[in-house]
């Protein structure tokens, strides 16, 4: 883990209220050790606590985040201009475990989709052929769909049916065989619960969000009860296997 200054590059709105930010840094912070599903904690000027955002993608010296402006902190982030500096603590959390012998299905909803992009790239790098199911409320809110479509089979769903399959991500989920397939998912809690009910096998991995104090396991602010005891979402998570979840 390191806490490094990074410089804001592009920071463009890619859907209403959703931004793609590129952060530039020299060397050490971004390495092959970054695991998909891990996150960074951003020190934003004028705010005491840091803001956790998932790693959407990275390449040598450039970190890409996709975030929604939902409150004061992320709104401030969205107004940052090219060249501005930001302290970034990373990498945080456990990240997804890639299961090499299971056909991967990625299920994402809204701002739960960004971490699945880097996951998708890593799965492909490992020689797998993932399928992505991306859920939104309506056509105008869709983002990252073409980025996924360039990598893998991508199914779009919208609640109002204005694009792709009408309904929820779970409506587009094919019948899966637990011996040969698995699901990696991230999204709002209601969506995670629906996936939890639809795919009843233990290897499925869910990524959670909680309000955080530190983001690196020291304060116990983000602790949750699981089948295997108390877990800190920031350190022992954010990714939990289905069999660990108490739902």
């Amino acid at each position: 883990m390191v806490d490094v200054p990074m410089l804001v590059g592009a920071n463009a709105e890619i859907a209403p209220g959703v931004y793609r930010m590129q952060l530039y840094t020299d060397g050490v912070a971004l390495t092959e050790e970054l695991r998909p599903g891990q996150f960074v904690n951003l020190k934003i000027d004028g705010f005491y606590l840091r803001r956790p955002i998932s790693i959407c993608d990275w390449s040598h010296g450039v970190l890409t985040l996709v975030y929604k402006a939902v409150g004061e902190g992320t709104r401030h982030l969205s107004a940052m201009e090219e060249g501005a500096a930001l302290r970034v603590l990373l990498p945080l959390g456990n990240g997804y475990t890639l299961l090499p012998d299971k056909q991967p299905v990625l299920v994402g909803g809204g701002v739960g989709i960004p971490p699945l992009y880097y996951l998708c790239k890593e799965l492909i790098r490992a020689g797998q052929k993932p399928t992505a199911i991306l859920g939104f409320n309506t056509a105008s809110e869709v983002f990252l769909q073409s980025a996924f479509a360039a990598l893998c089979d991508t199914i779009l769903t919208t609640v109002d049916g204005s694009a792709g399959v009408k309904g929820f991500v779970t409506d587009a989920l094919p019948k899966l065989n637990p011996d040969t397939s698995t699901v990696y998912t991230c999204g709002p809690e209601a969506m995670l619960r629906a996936v939890f009910r639809s795919v009843e096998f233990s290897s499925v991995q869910f990524s959670f969000e909680e309000r955080m104090g530190c983001g690196f396991g020291a304060c116990m602010c983000c602790s949750c009860k699981t089948v295997t005891g108390y877990k800190r979402i920031c350190k022992d998570g954010p990714v939990l296997r289905r069999e660990e979840i108490l739902w």
Binding site: L49, M220, C221, S223
Partner: protein
Amino acid sequence: MVDLCVSLAGVGLQNPVIPASGCFGFGREFAEFYDINLLGAFSFKGTTEEPRFGNPLPRVADCPSGMLNSVGLQNPGMEKVLTEELPFLKTYYHQPLIANVGGFSVREYVSNTARIAAEEQVDIVELNISCPNVQGGGHAFGTSCAAAEEVTKACKAVCPKPLFVKLTPNAANITDIAKAAEAAGADGISLINTLLGMRIDLKRRRPVLANIAGGYSGPGIFPVALRMVYETYAAVRIPIMGMGGVSTARDVIEMMLAGATAVQVGAANLVDPYACKYIIEDLPAVCAELGITRLSEMTGAAHGWSA
């Protein structure tokens, strides 16, 4: 050369900087960032007899100049601390250790104090009678002179090591509680714990914290903490560990001028895991700039002025 050493109730520290309880776990997360042997000491997470999960989530909220927490003493329980945390800590940490002890009754405080004080690794016991986030425990002892006196006396009887009593700023008059603890045999006073506060979510029109209120800490409470350390220094003869919003080397010196022998750093560690390391690295230069050659001489040096 600036001499940063201090002596805290007979325990020698290489510098006065001490991560505060609840903001440093049992050390292991910070050891991933830096060698924590550069600290003066550290105070580990408040430990109760039984394991505790604490309060429902959300239990943290962002604030201007600080944060609220309502963790409610999540800890693995005394048994696990003795058999797992301390042995692991021993493998990589060799500086003085402060054991922060919680409780819900005089009996529990006494039992916890006796068990933890018997550990060779523990140099100081810090009795937390000030946690604002648990019902019936902590706070109730820290807001009444009689209760503070009773629990301090009972714990001191089983504690051969220096016993510091950690006070809450939410008491009517913190110096009265400090005097009661001193009279009951405390070897030192730690202050302050967090100030009770709350935040409300504007969109949802409900309190942010599931527990409604929580403890406010961070830079916003520094002036309040400083004033309380100043007044307590004037009221008791035993040493003080001062804390509340300390984030920089200058804050450490200011706390010492107010009367602290050593200084604890809490929330700052959470937003910057290197906070204590940077403070310790900055101290020599800041001391030199201020003409300080022996930092321990600063304790209480701002006293003697009348209003």
